[in-house]
Amino acid sequence: MFGPFRITNVLNGGLLWKIPWRLSPTQKARQRKRLRAVDQVIEVVSNALAKKGETLKSLDRWKAEMPTEAEMLPRDKYTMFDRKAKRYRKGIHKLPKWTRVSQRVNPPGY
């Protein structure tokens, strides 16, 4: 039970990463901050282009499809759809590079 040769998951199978099931409150706060930072970039770019009278397809699509941080539900901010997960949701921190990619919308109904 104790000692150097005890059988644990790590010793038995080698690599074991423990990713917490949910985000901590500080992780959630930083996630909101990142979402707002992206909203800010979108706003600056769209204002600047509007002043020049130019349009941009990717910008228009983003504004039509993506909710802002304030409009998003907490569910979508901190979790995402996963067809294999119980109740079809997993923490957004399971997404690779989750702090540097946008993951805002999920399938309707889930």
Binding site: V41, V44, V45, W62, S102
Partner: protein, 112 residues
């Protein structure tokens, strides 16, 4: 003419080649680097590709290299309120005294 002031805030390590390519095309090679690009749909599209990595502002004119350098300097820690009077050149008092003596001597000559 206005410009986008683009700062690379997050590194692109481990992100797709396309994303890193966009950053290279913007001239952003290291975190914290600052570039200025004219406001146009072309550059706006590039910013859209890397919107999670950069911070963007709209400015009237690009900063020069020197201005960027100056803006990055930490505060000196002191303020110069005024410049003290310069010291007189070495030996000026002696020379002034000699001049005075000469003038006095000349005056004596005239009196005699």
């Amino acid at each position: 003419m206005s410009y986008f002031r683009i700062t690379l805030h997050r590194s692109a390590i481990g992100l797709p080649k396309r994303t890193r390519g966009v950053l290279a095309a913007l001239g952003l090679h290291r975190r914290g680097q600052l570039v200025f690009k004219p406001v146009s749909a072309q550059f706006a599209g590039m910013i859209m590709k890397v919107k999670e990595l950069v911070r963007v502002e709209e400015v009237d004119r690009p900063m020069t290299k020197w201005e960027v350098y100056e803006s990055r300097k930490p505060p000196a820690g002191f303020v110069v309120e005024g410049v003290a009077a310069r010291r007189e050149p070495l030996g000026s008092k002696v020379l002034a005294k000699l001049e005075e003596e000469k003038a006095a001597a000349a005056a004596e000559e005239v009196r005699l």
